[in-house]
């Protein structure tokens, strides 16, 4: 999985006056993608904390591997380390620039790989406030764009999902221009165009002098008052993963 978080290039995004808001939005999205190009592969550990309105919490721990692809969307593999009864369960995702993504799940209890319905990806990821579509690779082709405002180094773009089965009408994404177009905040609007969730990124670190990665994602659901916190640790950009690490066999291996 690749988080749209990026490098310090893209100084060339000086729009002309004649540029429409749509063009400018697309340009920024592309600049952001461009800024994060070249990480090739990464691994990271992830602790997911679910919180309900009363502050009751529940934790899951996962490991994520991501392989960068240029011509199509990235590939990712997620392994559950806890809770105990799902330990070893892993998902493999091939994101596609156009059309629905492919996704498989390995169930160690029956030692089988199952394909997951590709139609439904707007539901919550393991009971959290993150939908699968929030976590999957953010390919430029998956949205249409509209520039909204810029405030100092921060630029806000409206992104409308292309997929009719998306749970959102639009997302407002705030990029930080001076920090490699890393994302600072995303507001999600539901199908009736009411503010549903806000995702804020914090604890950014620069890896390999190019790739900005946040250590904390905090997703707050304004309608249910539930909250999910993602804590990332041990980023590794030197894993040298290949396509073989993202096959169905790799999926089974990963679960052991």
């Amino acid at each position: 999985m690749k988080y749209t978080v990026l490098v310090l290039i893209a100084l060339f995004t000086i729009g002309t006056q004649a540029q429409t808001a749509e063009e400018r939005g697309l340009e920024i999205a592309k600049a952001a993608e461009q800024a994060d190009l070249g990480f090739i592969s990464s691994t990271v550990n992830l602790k997911m904390t679910l919180k309900n309105k009363n502050g009751q919490t529940s934790e899951r721990s996962l490991t994520t591997r991501t392989l960068e692809l240029i011509e199509d969307g990235d590939k990712s593999l997620i392994v559950f380390n806890s809770p105990k009864d799902v330990k070893g369960t892993s998902t493999l995702t091939f994101t596609h620039k156009v059309g629905p993504d492919d996704q498989w799940l390995y169930l160690p209890s029956i030692k089988r790989v199952k394909r997951i319905s590709s139609n439904n990806k707007s539901g919550p990821f393991v009971g959290s406030e993150f939908a699968y579509e929030d976590l999957s690779s953010q390919e430029v082709e998956k949205y249409t764009y509209k520039f909204l405002e810029s405030n100092g180094t921060l630029i806000t773009i409206e992104q409308d999902p292309v997929d009719p089965k998306s749970g959102y009408t639009r997302r407002l994404v705030t990029y930080n221009k001076d920090k490699g177009y890393r994302i600072e905040k995303v507001d999600f609007y539901d199908r009736k165009n009411a503010l549903l969730k806000t995702l804020t990124y914090s604890g950014y670190k620069l890896y390999k002098n190019k790739f900005w990665r946040a250590s904390t994602f905090n997703m707050v659901n304004h309608q249910s008052n539930k909250e999910t916190l993602l804590n990332f640790s041990d980023y590794n950009f030197n894993a040298n993963l290949t396509e073989d690490d993202f096959s169905q066999n790799a999926l089974k291996r990963a679960g052991k």
Binding site: N52, S58, P83, D85, K114, N119, R191, K192, S224
Partner: protein
């Protein structure tokens, strides 16, 4: 007696001086009270709150349990739309397409978080080796006949749909819209949803006239409460007309009518100011306060006016003399009756239902102001108006003879009347115990309310409206995947399904069975809960990853995966049956499952079911206190301990009679009726006070014996009592036309009680007065003792 006499003399002097002051400074008093009323009214702010939560106090244990459950899962309110196509078949291309359309549109409902319909039902199936979860009917317009036949077959076999979203015949279906109201301002949020849904239904009907739509659910319930408040508020206008007519008929004087109208308007304006100042949000029970105040306040004015006009007509006093005399005679009685009424209404604060606290407090304040305005604005106005009367004695004496005849009739046979009365009262009191509590909130609304008829349609044709929920714990994080837990949960689900009251059960064990079956190639033999914890957990993970936006399991499973929610839909059963059912479920869990799985049944319906009992328990103390306080007031007013004690009989028995007659009429009582004891006590006590004071006056001042004193009391206050009773009955009859049962039942039984009180005061009370004073030697006081507390003319 001397000390008391001094007090009495003092109060008479005070009343007289008060009246003289008011008449002298009539303009100042009028403007002063006008400024006071307007000043209070300017603080007025009438906001309505339709949220059903208002009926429950913060400490209500059922509400706490229900809130805790909602916070564990999701806080849900809903709108259910029930669609009945004219061809009687949901499963046609056109109808499915229409349903899909309305489902999509339903997602746009403000605050919606989930929409469940037959078309977007997440059907689970095995395709090759994969789990496939998808809408049961997506893009129905493109489906072939064979595909539609398949959809029909699947749908009618689906336990999650049948009796919930679909009827057995497949001719009626529902769309259930779950909304998550922020609860910041329900006066704004609820109408927002309602307006949208109503518009959506209208648009849909215009486009698809072959569909009939009925709607119900918690949001429409809230709206119905909201609209009931407004409708009952509108009764005020009707009541005003009744007040004008009654006052005119009783006083036969235009100026009196205008003055009365101004007094009651001032009282209501002040009460509205009180509502604003206290930040009270009006609810159906409290929204009737203007009618209540009108009814009760008008009696004060009428007493003062009738005496004044009588003094002018009969005794040929000048206007000012008559006014002062009337004030002197009525000041204390009006004060005492206001005081007892205020005490009666304030006892509502002992109850456990906040809207009645509001009703009690607003009305009590209104009565306080009514007393103030009746003794200031009213005489000031009458002093200003050019009131003229003609002497009309003939009419009066005919009335008087009638009451005297009744008095003589009673005096002749006190023993027999006492026995007959007590037998009747005893019988009715016995019957009164046969009433049962019923707070089915659907039945709060009569059949003139759309919410009621729609809801009835839905419960007759598709599913139940009432439910009970249990949150079943597993005792450990992730424990819902423990096979033992799942098996027990499954047993509970089965047991619930076997109960005669149950229409539908939604339990997580059903999800576990369904997914297990699909993981085994849709083999029916695997339609059972998984036998291995890892399997169960991983199947659940897979299933959850396959669900779309808004159709997840978060409303059924808590974040920790340690508890799941069981929702039982029930037939329309009454409150005692509801409570019994809930307890049976709790008992089953105690008998058959480990301790961590024990749970209490909760739901809005259950909260209402227990509300009447809770209110009755909490009001009991309040009623006793009211009875003691009011009896004390009576003893002081009458200066007689024995009669004060005796007065308890005519004050308490009307309520017994009322509930006895009610048992013959409906036999079911609701929360609204619990308050009538305290409330009517404060009102009917007036009759007793008037009658007894006249009786005592005759004995003490005029040296009459008991029998003569009774006849005297009949002659002097008979008409006044009938007059007050007519006014009160008129007011409560207006209220009894309310479409909202908490108000209409309360008003109906109040009418019975007030009428009963009058009859008891005319039959039983005089009989008792004669019987209890038989052994007394004639102890006529000196005739000079004219300064008794004189109640009424």
């Amino acid at each position: 007696m001397n000390a008391l006499k001094k007090v009495s003399n003092a109060s008479n002097r005070f009343a007289k001086r008060w009246a003289e002051f008011v008449i002298k400074k009539k303009w100042l008093v009028l403007i002063g009270t006008l400024v006071l009323a307007l000043g209070l009214a300017s603080k007025g702010n009438m906001e309505f709150d339709g949220d059903y939560h208002v009926f429950f106090s913060k400490s209500n244990p059922e509400l706490e349990a229900f809130d805790a459950l909602q916070e564990k899962y999701t806080k849900d309110d809903n709108v259910i739309l029930v669609l009945s196509p004219s061809n009687g078949d949901i499963f046609t291309r056109e109808n499915l397409t229409a349903i899909e359309e309305l489902t999509t549109e339903s997602w746009n409902t403000p605050y919606s978080s989930r929409v469940d319909a037959v078309t977007n039902f997440q059907h689970t199936s095995a395709v090759d080796d994969d789990l496939y979860v998808d809408d049961l009917s997506y893009e129905s317009a493109l489906k072939s006949d064979a595909e539609i036949a398949m959809i029909r077959e699947k749908a009618l076999k689906e336990p999650l749909l049948v009796h919930r979203i679909l009827n057995e015949e497949g001719s009626i279906t529902a769309i259930n819209i779950t909304v998550r109201l922020p609860g910041v301002d329900s006066a704004k949020e609820i109408p927002e949803v309602t307006v949208f849904v109503r518009q959506m239904i209208d648009d849909f009907k215009a486009k698809h006239p072959n569909f009939e739509i009925h709607s119900s659910g918690l949001v429409p319930l809230n709206t119905a409460f909201f609209e009931a408040s407004m409708a009952d508020m509108a009764l005020t206008l009707f009541m005003l007309i009744v007040v004008i007519i009654t006052t005119f008929v009783l006083t036969r004087n235009v100026y009196s009518t205008i003055a009365t109208l101004i007094v009651v308007m001032f009282s209501i304006m002040s009460a509205i100011g009180f509502v604003g100042l206290m930040g009270i949000k009006l609810t159906p029970p409290s929204a009737v306060f203007p009618t209540m105040i009108l009814t009760l306040a008008v009696a004060d004015s009428i007493h003062i006016l009738i005496t004044m006009l009588q003094k002018m007509r009969k005794d040929s006093l000048t206007k000012v003399e008559a006014l002062i005399e009337s004030m002197r005679l009525n000041f204390m009685p009006v004060f005492i009756t206001s005081l007892t009424t205020i005490i009666g209404f304030l006892t509502m604060n002992f109850g456990d239902v906040p809207p009645f606290w509001d009703l009690g407090n607003i009305t009590a304040f209104g009565m306080l102001m009514a007393f103030l305005f009746s003794t200031t604005t009213l005489p000031a106005l009458m002093a200003i108006f050019p009131v003229k009367t003609k002497a009309k004695e003939a009419v009066q004496s005919v009335g008087k003879n009638g009451y005297a005849r009744l008095g003589n009739f009673v005096v002749k046979q006190p023993v027999r009347l006492t026995i007959v009365s007590l037998v009747i009262i005893g019988g009715l009191s016995f019957l009164a115990t046969k009433n049962t509590f019923n707070d089915e909130f659907i039945n709060y609304f009569d059949k003139s309310v759309r919410f009621r008829t729609d809801t009835d349609y839905i419960s007759e044709n598709l599913t139940g409206i009432y439910n009970i929920e249990y949150s079943i714990g597993s005792g450990e994080s992730g424990g819902i995947n423990n096979p033992e837990y799942l098996q027990k949960l499954n047993d509970f689900e089965d047991w619930l399904n076997d109960q005669p009251e149950v229409v539908h059960v939604n339990a997580f064990s059903e999800v576990a069975r369904r997914v297990n079956r699909s993981m085994h190639g849709d083999d029916e033999n695997f339609y059972k809960v998984p036998e291995n914890r890892e399997e169960a957990a991983q199947y659940l993970l897979l299933y959850e990853l396959s669900l779309p936006f808004g159709l997840d399991l978060n409303n059924q499973i808590n974040v920790d995966k340690s508890e799941t929610r069981v929702t039982v839909t029930l037939k329309n059963i009454d409150s005692p049956e509801m409570i019994a059912f809930s307890e049976r479920g709790e008992q089953w869990l105690r008998d058959n499952t480990p301790e961590e799985m024990h749970a209490l049944g909760v739901s809005p319906m259950l909260m209402f079911s227990k509300l009447g009992f809770r209110q009755a328990d909490s009001m009991f103390k309040g009623n006793i206190i009211a009875l003691i306080l009011i009896s004390l007031v009576l003893m002081l007013a009458l200066r007689n301990f024995k009669l004060g004690l005796l007065s308890i009989i005519p004050n308490v028995t009307p309520v017994l009679v009322g509930f006895g007659i009610w048992a013959l009429y409906k036999a079911q009582i609701n929360t609204g009726m619990v308050i009538v004891f305290g409330m009517t006590l404060g009102i009917i006590v007036d009759d007793t006070v008037h009658f007894m004071s006249k009786f005592l006056r005759a004995k003490r001042e005029l040296g009459y014996d008991s029998k003569q004193a009774v006849v005297y009391a009949f002659e002097t206050v008979g008409k006044a009592l009938v007059t007050t009773t007519i006014v009160l009955i008129a007011g409560f009859t207006v209220l009894s036309t309310s479409s909202f049962a908490l108000n209409s039942y309360m008003a109906r039984i109040t009418v019975i009680i007030i009428l009963g009180a009058l009859i008891i005061d005319f039959i039983l009370l005089p009989s008792l007065l004669i019987l209890t004073s038989r052994k007394e030697t004639k102890t006529a006081n000196s005739p000079a003792n004219l300064n008794q507390i004189i109640l009424d003319k």
